[in-house]
Symmetry: C2
């Protein structure tokens, strides 16, 4: 079932059939209708491989994520998909399964499929460099959420420093630090986001204690244990991600402490797992809509402007650290 069949059925050449189906050139309405009717009758669907091979481009944006089970990455993928959908492009997602080599293979595969552009949430601050370089050399490439230091690719990600400013402002306005002293529960992950959030925190609270682990619930629980075992009975816990905050919440409460009575808990991300927190989190909400739109803008422009895009987050206040 090819365009040839459609053309034959409509009694025209393949060129005319193509023009009718793509609308690329003006033509007599009569013939166009004949072609469209023939296509409909035959149930014709264009072979996008043939088209792409000829046009030298696939209207597809490839997204490679480290792990789809990470709810923040999944949320980014979903939002990007929704923004991209009405634009004439299409988003295809591949997961690297946390492995730098698999990530590289995924990127190569996307490039080999002549994708229009590539969005990469790098697995590793250094290990993902080869993938990013390979992509940057051939297509418009965006590095998302985590910055690889040495890459030229446009970076799009939340303004983490501004997010920490919002938290500091909230804490200064509503917390008695003598009663609930502040602690940062962050991630030692070698990722730009982890580092920027830590630095942002330190700029405001240079003397506050800092605990570093991973971006997951378990680490939040461990951190809570550590604090309680060290004799803490109250505090303002600033987590570098909502998943960490969730871990903190669950362990604090299971060990008999109240939130926000004894401990306040403040998160970061505001999408994905956030609604699962109990009590609901005060958190910095990443501007995922703006992030998705920025990516589409970069891709559509086609001009890899070498400037970072850092949309500003917002503060969402919940009962885990109220504003009373």
């Amino acid at each position: 079932m090819t365009i040839r069949d459609v053309a034959d059925r409509a009694g025209v050449s393949t060129a005319t059939a193509s023009r009718a189906l793509t609308g690329s050139r003006p033509m007599s309405p009569d013939l166009r209708d004949r072609v469209l009717a023939a296509a409909a009758e035959l149930g014709y669907r264009v072979n996008l491989l043939g088209r792409a091979l000829r046009q030298q481009r696939m209207s597809v944006i490839g997204l490679v994520v480290p792990d789809l089970e990470n709810p923040f990455f999944a949320a980014l993928a979903e939002h990007l998909s929704r923004v991209v959908e009405p634009s004439g492009y299409e988003l295809l997602v591949a997961s690297a399964g946390g492995d730098v080599d698999a990530e590289y293979r995924g990127v190569q595969s996307f490039l080999g499929r002549q994708m229009q552009s590539l969005v990469l949430i790098p697995c590793d601050e250094e290990g993902s460099r080869a993938s990013l370089d390979a992509a940057t050399a051939e297509v418009v490439t965006v590095q998302l959420d985590r910055r690889v230091a040495s890459s030229d690719a446009v970076y799009v990600g939340c303004d983490n420093a501004a997010g920490m400013d919002l938290i500091a402002e909230h804490v200064r306005a509503h917390v008695d630090l003598a009663v609930q002293p502040v602690v940062f529960v962050g991630a030692g992950t070698r990722s730009s986001s982890a580092r920027e959030r830590l630095e942002g925190f330190r700029r405001h609270f240079p003397d506050a204690p800092v605990l570093l682990g991973d971006f997951d619930v378990r680490w939040g629980q461990q951190a809570a244990d550590r604090l309680l075992d060290d004799g803490w009975t109250s505090g303002t816990l600033v987590a570098a991600a909502d998943v960490i905050a969730l871990g903190l919440l669950s362990r604090l409460q299971s060990r008999g402490f109240r939130v926000p009575g004894d401990f306040r808990v403040i998160g970061f991300d505001g999408v994905g797992v956030t609604p699962l927190a109990h009590p609901e989190l005060t958190t910095v909400r990443q501007p995922v809509e703006a992030i998705a739109q920025a990516i589409l803008d970069v891709v559509s422009a086609g001009t890899p402007e070498h400037s970072d895009v850092r949309p500003a987050p917002t503060l969402v206040v919940g009962p885990s650290s109220p504003a009373d």
Copy 2:
């Protein structure tokens, strides 16, 4: 940068270059090394579009999910990706954004790209039928997790009835139903999984109350409110999904009830958000590894056996409904 360039550089024909690069035919090691060296020097990468157009097949499995933010679907996608990765196929994921029309477009697009086979988690029990039919007519197609009644496509999904058997067994062995009577908090979603779990429950507890809402946290919270407002002070709440169980947990606890002291809570799924529950859930864990493997088997076999695959789940006991 084409295979022509590689062939020229190595001083051979394109056919020889192709054979060296794909290893499709035996050839003299000497020439093969020359070709591979030339390819490496030039940084050649095969154009998968050209190859696929010629071979009439892309070694790609397409997965269309209703919504990547649904943690269970994200978990399925991730597991499938990991199972598929070493098999020579590649998994590409598209999200329908909850919209049946977008789902149809996604399926058509995958078909137009000559994907080897298609896995679809249908958006809607009836609305997704057109998508499934279109796919089934052309490629090996698997409907995953939710069954569309009238479709011929192979169905792969957890044995929900067996899952409910496990829950019933657990309840009968460890719960005093006079003290903690059982209630089902399910989903009225028109999906086979929702229905099968409800039916499974009813078979064991025909007289127990049933509340139906959506597969999300908010519904769990609402259901908890409803029960408490109706005067319930204890019970065994069987949720049709862990997200619902999470909502139940959070609301029960915020209104001062203890789990499992007052209310027991039992979930279903066992992947994705499950670790976020506090206390940890007793839940039916879906056999995602077996599900992913079954899909790969169907795809590899290429023979669309028209029989369903229903891997058996397991019970994971946690403190939300202990076995003491």
